[in-house]
């Protein structure tokens, strides 16, 4: 057990704090300085000039409205889906629950590739919708639906259906019972889900880069284009500030909404609330919802696999074996297979960096309550609320000033990936550490176990599990990371997402086939990691 003496806490917290400080706070501060005080003194002329450009306003407006529409569409599909998955029992329910998670864990590049496989120039449907807003919205719904299904469905499944029945018996119609009883209890979960979807779509990068073409740009994408394509660093810094300001407002609004909506409710744990559909109407509704979910979530993935297998001479593994050859038209400087090797090496390094930091931080958060621990927790969550592109851009502008120039170090990408993965690893491991019931330790002690033995018999199995869960999370995040990597990657050492992106931007069947094959590989790896993680997380050991 970890001691609660302040000194130990400080020692535990020191490494994660130093890491966040050096690789997140300082780079972001550098962006701030560069944007607001380019000459050393506060000078708002450049930011004002950038902000008042018509194209900036256009980008900001597009970023906002596409996020609103994406969120509404995701809710429109996700809420009926959450209801059906939470309240009805039907054959294949568990499978659908697991599979519905897959799109969310896919790297955005794979999502983009999957939609190109479906509705791109060489798409399976034969209808071209890429470079349209419809492709972007559809990809956002596909990607974020799992957030609504999981968050809202999870709460819905735990709401006691008898509460609604009590309202019915007391004279409320079906609709009134939903409006006055179920909805107020569900609202916090819906707000959470909507906020998260809004955040993800607001900062959408890879999907829009791949599916939108030059016609569409979010602020996130504009930062990238200004910094990496136009080499206009002051404009990039200003746009990054605009993004951070929007996100800050979003967080404040979210906190307020949550504060107002909080209801102390008793959830019915471990009570089976799902039942078979009973009437013809219910079967129709359940069937239609499942079919729609399966279509929206399944079709792009099926198209991706189909395109990957489709070669010049019918179906086969040609595209996969082509990964071992040269890349098409020099899209990469190396054979595509190298990208897989790079990704695995980077992911291993990122996991090795992230895991100890994440566990130290998780231990501080799990074993200590109070304002300091809460603040520490919030600070470590910050990279999640910002964006990968800003992290990458921050690296670019700040790390050249260090005594050792990290920008040429092979560790740069693993460090960036570790930073992006850190919030996920912490969030995944804190509940596991907290779930060690102190009565288990007491029981072990009463049964004659020494403190060391207690730690080995009770704590270690849990920590082992946390290591496994956190590690697989860091690995999966690193494999799929795109936004930050794009800024700092060396051209001769691409990762899988970078290689897929470059291959997709090349014309020709070979490049397309290689991109599809590699996206399929990446999809399989991340989906397997995520499903394994889901099982680890839900089969609990011990309890609180």
């Amino acid at each position: 057990m970890v001691s609660r003496r302040p000194l130990t806490t400080v020692a535990l917290a020191a490494l994660p704090l130093a890491f966040i400080g050096l690789f997140f706070v300082w780079p972001v501060a550098s962006i701030l300085v560069r944007g607001l005080a380019p000459g050393g003194a506060l000078d708002l002329s450049v930011p004002l000039q950038v902000l008042t450009r018509p194209e900036t306003l256009e980008v900001a407006w597009f970023t906002f409205w596409q996020a609103v529409v994406s969120t509404l569409l995701t809710l429109a599909l996700g809420l009926p889906g959450a209801y059906v998955l939470a309240r009805f029992d039907f054959p294949g329910r568990r499978l659908l629950n697991a599979v519905a998670l897959v799109p969310f864990v896919l790297p955005t590049v794979v999502v983009g590739a999957a939609f190109l496989a479906l509705i791109g120039p060489k798409g399976a449907l034969g209808v071209r919708l890429d470079h349209t807003i419809w492709a972007i919205l559809a990809a956002h719904v596909f990607y974020n639906c799992a957030v609504v299904l999981r968050l809202v469905g999870g709460v819905w499944a735990q709401l006691d259906p008898r509460t609604e029945e009590a309202a019915r018996v007391l004279g409320a119609s079906r609709w009134r019972a939903f409006r006055e009883v179920t909805w107020p209890l569900l609202r916090p979960a819906v707000l959470s889900a909507a906020s998260i979807v809004f955040l993800f779509t607001f900062t959408s990068f890879g999907v829009i880069l791949i599916l939108g073409g030059y016609g569409y740009s979010t602020i996130e994408l504009a930062v990238y284009r200004a910094a990496a394509v136009l080499l206009d660093l002051p404009a990039a810094a200003t746009l990054a500030l605009l993004q951070l300001a929007f996100l800050a407002v979003l967080l404040v609004v979210y906190a307020r909404l949550q504060g107002n909506a909080a209801v102390g409710q008793r959830l019915t744990a471990a009570r089976v609330t799902a039942r078979r559909p009973r009437s013809r109407q219910e079967w129709t509704f359940v069937g239609a919802t499942i079919a729609l979910l399966a279509l929206v979530l399944g079709l792009p993935l099926a198209a991706l696999v189909e395109r990957a297998l489709a070669g010049a001479n019918g179906y086969g593994l040609d595209n996969f074996s082509a990964l071992f050859g040269e890349s098409a038209r020099g899209a990469l400087f190396v054979p595509p297979i190298d990208a897989i090797r790079n990704s695995l090496a980077f992911a291993a390094a990122a996991t090795a960096i992230c895991l100890p930091l994440g566990l130290l931080a998780a231990a501080v958060i799990a074993y200590h309550r109070g304002r300091l621990a809460t603040g520490f927790d919030a600070l470590l969550m910050l990279p999640l609320g910002t964006s990968a592109v800003i992290v990458g851009f921050g690296f670019l502008v700040s790390l050249g000033q260090l005594p050792i120039d990290l920008r040429t170090s092979p560790l740069l990408i693993p460090i960036a990936h570790a930073l992006v993965a850190l919030p996920f690893v912490i969030r995944a491991t804190v509940p596991l550490l907290r779930s060690i019931d102190h009565r288990l330790r007491e029981a072990a002690a009463v049964l004659g176990a020494s403190p060391a033995r207690t730690w080995r018999m009770v704590d270690l199995p849990m920590v082992g599990r946390a290591l496994l869960v956190g590690g697989s999370f860091a690995f999966a995040v690193s494999l799929g990371e795109f936004g930050a990597t794009l800024f700092i990657v060396r051209p001769d050492a691409p990762t899988m997402p970078i290689a897929i992106y470059r291959l997709l931007s090349q014309p020709g069947a070979l490049a397309f086939g290689q991109a599809m094959a590699m996206a399929t590989v990446l999809m399989a790896v991340t989906a397997i990691a995520a499903l394994a993680f889901d099982r680890l997380r839900t089969t609990s050991v011990g309890s609180t």
């Binding site: 008898r162 009590a166 309202a167 018996v169 009134r176 009883v181 209890l185 409710q265």
Partner: protein
């Protein structure tokens, strides 16, 4: 007022209620007694309209309710574990049924206070649900069910979640309250004491079928069949070989009256057995348990170490109880010999 005709409810392949036919008088209190999983809750849900019927019908004063949705039936149902609305305070919970019936605000307030006073929660209106104890939640649930003056009140194991002391007190309170209300009441429980105390008649459910519907006293004194006898805790059930008037039991021969034609078994009520010198039954005491007002003894037939056990409840005031291993003789009060169908 309430009529159930051959009501059937099934969940997929399992039958939860199997041909229940029942009638309830204008201000009658019916207790429904049965083990868990016997279909007690399903019966209430079927009457309320929460479970669709696979067959049969539920009617009120001759009117078929099949096509009347839940919220228009005007029945009150108090759920097991209460199902209170966590986002409303006590008054908000009680007022819910008044709001759905569009009662004006001023009258609503009066009625809420009135009902809260009735259940002994005067002044609790502004409390949050999660601040209440189990007993208080139970009262709020009752007040909520009563507020819209339902034409039938149904209660599903209302005392099930409470500790023993509170249960005994609330049992007396409920009995008084029910007498005062004058509405038809269906009270579901797995506890025979509650059923006998609160039901004028008691219906016994077993695997979705009604085993008996009898006035409480009659049910207790003359259980109609083996299931009811055993569920009420009376286990001395013996097979009736032939319809002769003399029954050979492992503990000795017993004179019976003339058995009705349809009876297959006979019950010797444990409280009908008393220690006496002449018998007719005798055996060796295998266990003695002191229970306060009575002492339970289990008696094996003489010379049968693993023979059946005869259970006798001896009134504490009547005699000094025997000790284990002692040979005893027991006489039987003829009114305690019950023929079972």
């Amino acid at each position: 007022m309430l009529q159930l005709e051959d009501v059937r409810v099934s969940f997929g392949p399992t039958t939860a209620l199997d041909g229940v036919t029942l009638e309830l008088g204008a201000a009658e209190r019916l207790a429904v007694l049965g083990p868990s999983g016997s279909g007690k809750s399903t019966l209430l849900r079927a009457i309320a309209g929460l479970e669709p019927l696979a067959a049969g019908r539920v009617a009120w004063a001759g009117q078929d309710l099949t096509n009347v949705p839940v919220h228009q039936r005007g029945f009150g149902l108090m759920f097991q574990d209460y199902a209170l609305f966590p986002h409303r305070d006590v008054a908000g919970n009680v007022a819910f049924g008044l709001e759905t019936h569009a009662m004006p605000v001023a009258r609503r307030k009066v009625r809420v206070d009135e009902v809260l006073a009735l259940v002994g929660l005067r002044g609790y209106g502004a409390r949050r649900i999660d601040q209440l104890s189990g007993g208080e939640q139970q009262r709020v649930a009752l007040a909520r069910a009563l507020a819209p003056t339902p034409r039938l009140l149904m209660l599903d194991e209302p005392l099930g979640a409470l500790d023993r002391g509170l249960r005994t007190r609330l049992l007396d309170e409920l009995a008084g309250l029910f007498a005062q209300l004058g509405l038809p009441i269906i009270y579901v429980t797995h506890d025979q004491e509650e059923a006998l105390a609160l039901g004028e008649r008691v219906a016994v459910l077993n695997s979705g079928r009604l085993e008996a519907v009898l006035p409480a006293r009659e049910l207790w004194l003359k259980p109609p069949n083996e299931f009811v006898a055993r569920f009420l805790g009376m286990n001395n059930v013996l097979p009736l070989a032939t319809n002769n008037e003399r029954l050979a039991t492992p503990w000795g021969a017993l004179e019976l009256g003339t058995a009705p034609a349809d009876s297959a078994k006979v019950l010797i009520r444990p409280d009908a057995l008393t220690l006496s010198a002449q018998g007719p039954l005798s055996g060796v005491v295998a266990a003695v348990t002191f229970r306060g007002e009575s002492t339970t003894i289990l008696v094996r037939p003489n010379g049968a170490a693993d023979g059946p056990l005869l259970e006798a409840h001896l009134k504490t005031a009547d005699s000094t109880p025997p000790v284990v291993g002692q040979t005893v003789t027991l006489s039987v009060d003829p009114s305690g010999v019950v023929f079972l169908s």
